[in-house]
Amino acid sequence: MAFGDYPIDYNPKAHGPYDPARFYGKPDTPFGQVKVGEIGSWLARRNKSPQAMMGAVSRAYWRWQHKYVQPKKAGIAPFLHVVFGSMAFFYMINYSKLTHHRNYKYH
C-alpha cells in the first residue's frame, strides 16, 4: 500500500464507490458499547500502526466534512468548529505561558 492508494480492505466490486469516511475492515464493537471490563482487551485488539492511526484521523476528518462542510445547505457550524478548535489548541500549547497571568495566590 503506497501513498494515495485505497485501503487494502476496500473492494470496489463489493463496496461500491469509495467513501473516505467509512472503515472498510472488519468492524469491532463500537467503543460506546464496550463494557468497562473489556476495555483492556478492546484496546489490545486495536491496530496501533502509524498508517492505521492516520487512517482513523482521516476517517474522522471526512466524517466531519460530510456532516458539516459538504451538505448543500451547510451553516456556519464548520467555521465555528475551526475557530473554537483552534482556540482550544492554541490555549493548550500556550498554557505554560498563560499560567504566569494568574491573579490569585490562593484558590
Binding site: P12, A14, H107
Partner: protein, 251 residues
C-alpha cells in the same frame, strides 16, 4: 463538493480540479472504481448520499452531545455541566482569565451580532448561488432528457400513424378487390354478350339457309313441273277451258 461553506472558502474550484485529477488518473483501482456503476454487492454498503447538515446548538455544539446528556440528566443537564465545569476551572484558575479572555469575549459578542444580523442574508444569497450553480450543471441533462422524451413521444406518434397506414392499406386493398370484382363482372357480361351475338348469328344464318333452300326447292319443283307440262297437254288444257267456257255460255 458544492456547499455554502465551500463557496465561501473557494473550495469549488479546488474540488473541481481534484475531481478532474481523479477522473484522469490511470491507476487500475481508480478505473475499477470509475466502472462500478452497478449496485454494491455487499450488504450494508450503499452508494454514499449527500447528508443534510448536522444539527447544532449555539451555532456550533453538536446536537449529539446534548442527546448524550439528555438520557441521564434531562434538558438542562448539559448546560448545568458546562456552567459548573467552567465555574470550577475559573475559580481554581485552571482556566486563566488573562487579557486574551476579554478579547475573546468581545470578539464573541461581535461574532454573535454579526451572525445574527448578516447570517440570514448571506445564507439566502448563497442558497440562491448554489441553486443557480446546480441548475447550471443540471440544465444540459434536463434539456437532453426533455428532448429525448419528446423524441419518444414523436416516435410513439409515428407508430400510431403507421397503424393508421395499416388501416389505409386495408381499405385500399378492399378497394382494389372491389375494382377487380367489377372488372370480372364486366368481362363476364362481355363474354356473355359476345357468345350471344355469335349464337344469334348462327341462328340467323341457319334461318336464312333454310329459307333459301326452301325457296330453291320450291323454284326447282315449280320449274320441274313446268318443264314436265308438254305442248299437247297445254292444248288439251286450253281446249278443256274453251269447252268449259262454252258450257258456261250455254248455261
Amino acid at each position: 463538493m458544492l456547499s455554502r461553506a465551500a463557496i465561501l472558502s473557494g473550495q469549488t474550484s479546488k474540488s473541481l480540479v481534484a475531481s478532474c485529477l481523479r477522473a484522469t488518473s490511470t491507476s487500475s483501482l481508480n478505473n475499477q472504481v470509475a466502472k462500478t456503476d452497478d449496485k454494491p454487492t455487499e450488504v450494508g454498503f450503499q452508494r454514499p448520499v449527500r447528508q443534510e447538515p448536522g444539527k447544532v446548538r449555539l451555532g456550533f455544539v453538536p446536537e449529539e452531545w446534548f442527546q448524550f446528556f439528555y438520557k441521564k440528566t434531562g434538558v438542562t443537564g448539559p448546560y448545568t455541566f458546562a456552567f459548573t465545569l467552567s465555574t470550577y476551572l475559573v475559580s481554581k484558575e485552571i482556566y486563566v482569565l488573562e487579557h486574551e479572555y476579554y478579547t475573546g469575549l468581545s470578539l464573541i459578542i461581535m461574532w454573535v451580532y454579526g451572525i445574527k444580523t448578516l447570517g440570514p442574508k448571506l445564507a439566502a444569497y448563497l442558497d440562491k448561488e448554489i441553486d443557480e450553480f446546480e441548475k447550471g450543471w443540471n440544465e444540459s441533462r434536463e434539456e437532453q432528457k426533455a428532448a429525448l422524451s419528446d423524441q419518444i413521444k414523436d416516435e410513439e406518434k409515428n407508430q400510431w400513424s403507421v397503424e393508421g397506414q395499416n388501416v389505409l392499406v386495408e381499405a385500399k386493398r378492399e378497394n382494389v378487390a372491389l375494382q377487380l370484382e367489377a372488372n370480372y363482372r364486366e368481362r363476364i357480361i362481355q363474354v356473355y354478350s359476345e357468345v350471344k351475338k355469335r349464337l344469334d348469328y348462327q341462328v340467323e344464318k341457319q334461318n336464312i339457309e333454310r329459307r333459301i333452300t326452301q325457296k330453291n326447292l320450291v323454284d326447282w319443283v315449280v320449274a320441274k313441273v313446268r318443264s314436265s307440262i308438254t305442248p299437247d297437254q297445254e292444248k288439251q288444257n286450253i281446249n278443256k277451258c274453251i269447252n268449259d267456257l262454252s258450257l258456261l255460255a250455254k248455261a
